[in-house]
């Protein structure tokens, strides 16, 4: 696995919350024959790309094959093979006499392209380091207010070497983790990550801990000993005070410009 694909896997792990919840396609492992795809790609380039374009999305004269219903409905080159034998001469598509195994390979290649277009999990974020590192440093020390909690020589030392840019960017824009798809119980926990709560009952001692969950009727915390405790609540009782260690990051969501985000990313990448 190359560095490039490592990055992609990490980015995918990060994005799973966003993507898998909406899309439930199986991964390509085992679904495609990689050797056949390679052979099919060569055969495609030689026989088809002149009209249908180098990426099969259509060229000057030939239509888009990734969106072709004939290609999408094809199974193992069967329908494609039958079509290629006659072509569609009236529309400028000549007949092709290709060996059956080559048609199968081309079909496998085209099906892989269809899969790649339809499968959001496979999409790769491109180069996001487009900002100005100097401006990013100025924002870090100035308007962004980052230096109130962080320091390039302290907690952020070497951070640019530790994380790929896309993860680095995610860590400051999105300091709370994403909920685990299919696990509704993780939503509340993730939503409250970084929040602590202080509960003052009408009688009895004050209790503090990490906020786990809060509703109009109950508040649940985990105390320093790791014990989870739930308290009933009404509109007035007990007194509940919540503090968010990540509040400065949340506040930035309304203040950032996209240029600020790009510049800050470019700056953090330099902290190697």
């Amino acid at each position: 696995m190359s560095t490039q694909s490592n990055t992609r896997v990490l980015a995918m792990l990060l994005l799973t919350g966003a993507v898998t919840a909406l899309h439930s396609q199986p991964g390509p492992a085992g679904k495609f024959d990689e050797a056949a795809i390679e052979r099919g790609k060569s055969a495609y380039s030689a026989a088809c790309s002149f009209c249908h374009g180098s990426n099969a999305r259509g060229g000057e004269t030939g239509p888009d094959l990734v969106r072709s219903v004939l290609v999408i409905d094809d199974e193992n080159g069967k329908e494609l093979g039958a079509f290629l034998k006659t072509g569609r001469p009236a529309a400028g598509m000549p007949a092709f006499n290709l060996p059956e195994n080559q048609v199968r390979d081309i079909a496998e290649y085209l099906h892989r392209l269809v899969y790649a277009a339809a499968s959001r999990r496979e999409y790769a974020i491109l180069n996001i380091v487009t900002g100005n590192a100097q401006r990013g440093e100025a924002y870090f020390s100035g308007a962004g207010g980052c230096k109130a909690c962080h320091s390039p020589a302290g907690d952020l030392k070497g951070i640019g070497a530790k994380y790929e840019p896309v993860i680095l960017q995610d860590r400051f824009v999105n300091p709370r983790r994403t909920a685990i798809p299919g696990h509704p119980e993780s939503e509340g926990i993730v939503a409250n990550q970084g929040k602590t709560v202080r509960i003052t009952p009408a009688a009895g001692p004050v209790v503090s801990g990490d906020l786990i969950r809060i509703s109009d009727f109950h508040v649940t915390l985990r105390d320093a000993q790791g014990v989870t405790r739930t308290f009933a609540r009404t509109a007035n009782e007990p007194k509940v005070e919540i503090a968010d260690a990540l509040q400065a990051h949340m506040d930035l969501l309304r203040k950032y410009t996209d240029e600020n985000i790009h510049d800050l990313t470019a700056y953090l990448v330099t902290l190697k």
């Binding site: 899309h23 396609q25 969106r67 959001r120 939503e187 990313t265």
Partner: protein
């Protein structure tokens, strides 16, 4: 046709009383739901409001559990249909997102690949129909439509299936669209006289979207309305070429509303394709992300209003077009209200589509430059997905989503579950012909989710109550109650006027919108949590 209607009236009266089961009286479809809940929305208006008040603010504290029904999706003992292989079992078939129909004491509902009849008095299963799937995205199913004694529902692999309501036996099934092209079908069909209105979904391969009408007897197509024009047709000027409009998406995946007096069907259409990469489809991209009025007899477009011109954030426009009748300045008005996924509340004159009000209902919205003379938002191109990423609120899931909002004519308030989410939107496909989504949305957090009450005449937020849930299915009643959930496992009855919780039950986060009806002199409130229906009443 008349004879059949007369016959069904007679049958409804006879069988309903004697057997506790029987055909649907079609006259019920146009009335507020009282002793039946005959459509997904309860009636044609999409208000999710009930005139019932047996359960009200003074006694809601005594609301208690009548029954729980947990669905059993095992094919064993089920009536089996479908075109898939013998061992075909789809995913997510056990989550109830649809709203059951309740007719003559029986609840009828569907989930992906399954349909059920359940005794509305006891919660016991009457029959189970299992559909062997050919695949497709099993994200959800909104339920069924009913015509006389026949039920209609859609499957994830895009068939329309009709069942005999008495027995659950299949009458026929008809192909709507090709699952291999990534179409998948979730809507609850809507019955308008002798039309079964059918919609579909599918965002992954830039396929065309449409709405169609089928004959309830034969299942044959009566008309098909494409959500994007073809060259030479009105609206074609909002696309660069035929290639883009023929692959322009615009899905019809949410149940619709209907005005019998105007004979207009109100359809909210989905996003254009490619979804997040807009550079191959310059223009407004009509009639995607729009509210349109169609003639249900012909499928012809009467008017349209676009809620998200040139959408590049997957916001659709498919939230419920809620029909409101009111008297404004002494004049009776026929209005349409819609809280859109893009974060804007719209009020239209539903006779002609003219905009009366457009106002953001979340505080964080950052993607538009303003509202134009037609009342449509003007998107800020700087917030289109880019390679380096742009920070946009709301996120792809939107300021709200498919769960039904509610409108109470008693308060004049439009209730909607909202979220103030942000996402980074990245462009990943820079080809001149991008495909599929063409980009990635990465959610980065929320600055607060609220149940909001909007004054429909001004768009002002009259009250808001913080919840963890964001978008959620709602029901308001003449008992002064608003039923919803808080996202941390509580089903709640709120005070319609203030949003204060008056009653709750920790049954989990609800997965559909609550419904209510009278049965044996008792008002029931029924709601789903994942694989279970919970029925409540006053004992």
């Amino acid at each position: 046709m008349k004879t059949r209607f007369l016959l069904s009236f007679a049958l409804a009266a006879g069988c309903g009383a004697l057997l506790g089961q029987g055909p649907l009286d079609p006259a019920l479809l146009g009335k507020p739901p009282v002793d039946a809940w005959p459509t997904y929305h309860g009636d044609y208006s999409g208000r999710h409001y009930s005139t019932l008040n047996q359960i009200n603010q003074s006694n809601v504290k005594a609301l208690s559990l009548a029954w729980v029904h947990r669905i059993n999706i095992s094919p064993a003992g089920a009536i089996v249909g479908g075109e898939g292989p013998e061992d075909a079992v789809g995913g997510a078939g056990n989550i109830i997102k649809g709203i059951p129909l309740m007719v003559n004491g029986i609840s009828y509902f569907s989930t992906p690949d399954h349909a059920f009849a359940v005794d509305a008095r006891t919660g016991q299963e009457i029959w189970h129909y299992f559909w062997k799937t050919k695949g497709g995205i099993h994200i959800g199913n909104r339920g069924m439509g009913m015509y006389n004694n026949w039920l209609f529902f859609e499957t994830p692999d895009c068939y329309l299936v009709s069942l005999d309501a008495s027995t659950g036996k299949e009458r026929w099934h008809k192909l709507i669209a090709d699952v291999k092209q990534e179409y998948f079908c979730t809507p609850a069909p809507l019955i308008v006289r002798n039309h079964v209105i059918v919609g579909l979904g599918g965002d992954s391969l830039d396929v065309p979207g449409w709405l169609e009408s089928r004959d309830p007897e034969t299942g044959d197509v009566q008309w098909k309305w494409y959500t994007t024009p073809r060259p030479g047709q009105p609206g074609a000027e909002t696309w660069p070429d035929s290639y883009s409009m023929e692959h322009g998406g615009g899905m019809t995946w949410q149940p619709w509303t209907y005005d019998p007096q105007l004979n207009l069907l109100y359809v909210a259409t989905g996003n254009p394709n490619p979804v997040l990469a807009g550079h191959s489809r310059a223009g407004d991209n009509l009639w995607t992300a729009s509210i349109v009025a169609l003639n249900p007899d012909t499928g012809k477009l009467v008017w349209s209003f676009q809620v998200s011109p040139h959408d590049t954030h997957d916001w659709d426009g498919t939230q419920v077009p809620v029909l409101i009748d009111d008297v404004v300045n002494g004049q009776p008005r026929k209005l349409l209200a819609n809280a859109s996924r893009n974060g804007i509340f719209f009020l239209l004159d539903r006779t002609n589509g003219k905009n009366l009000l457009s106002k953001p209902f979340i505080e964080t919205l950052n993607w538009m430059k303003g509202i134009d003379a037609k009342g449509q938002p003007v998107p800020d191109a700087a917030k289109d997905p880019s390679i380096a990423g742009v920070l946009v609120s709301p996120n792809q899931t939107g300021a709200t989503n498919w769960p039904a909002p509610s409108f109470s004519p008693d308060t004049g308030l439009f209730y909607v579950g909202t979220q103030q989410t942000y996402s980074m939107f990245y462009l990943t496909d820079t080809d001149k012909r991008p495909q599929g989504y063409g980009g990635i949305n990465h959610p980065v957090g929320t600055l607060g989710n609220f149940l909001r009450a909007i004054d429909y005449k001004t768009g002002d937020i009259v009250w808001k109550h913080e919840t963890a849930s964001g978008a959620q299915g709602l029901l308001s009643t003449a008992g002064g109650l608003l039923f919803g959930n808080d996202g941390v496992g509580n089903f709640i009855a709120y005070d319609v006027k203030t949003g204060s919780p008056l009653w709750h039950a920790g049954i989990g986060n609800t997965t559909n919108a609550p419904q209510t009806y009278m049965l044996d002199g008792k008002q029931y409130v029924v709601v789903a949590v994942n694989d279970s229906l919970y029925a409540f009443y006053l004992q």
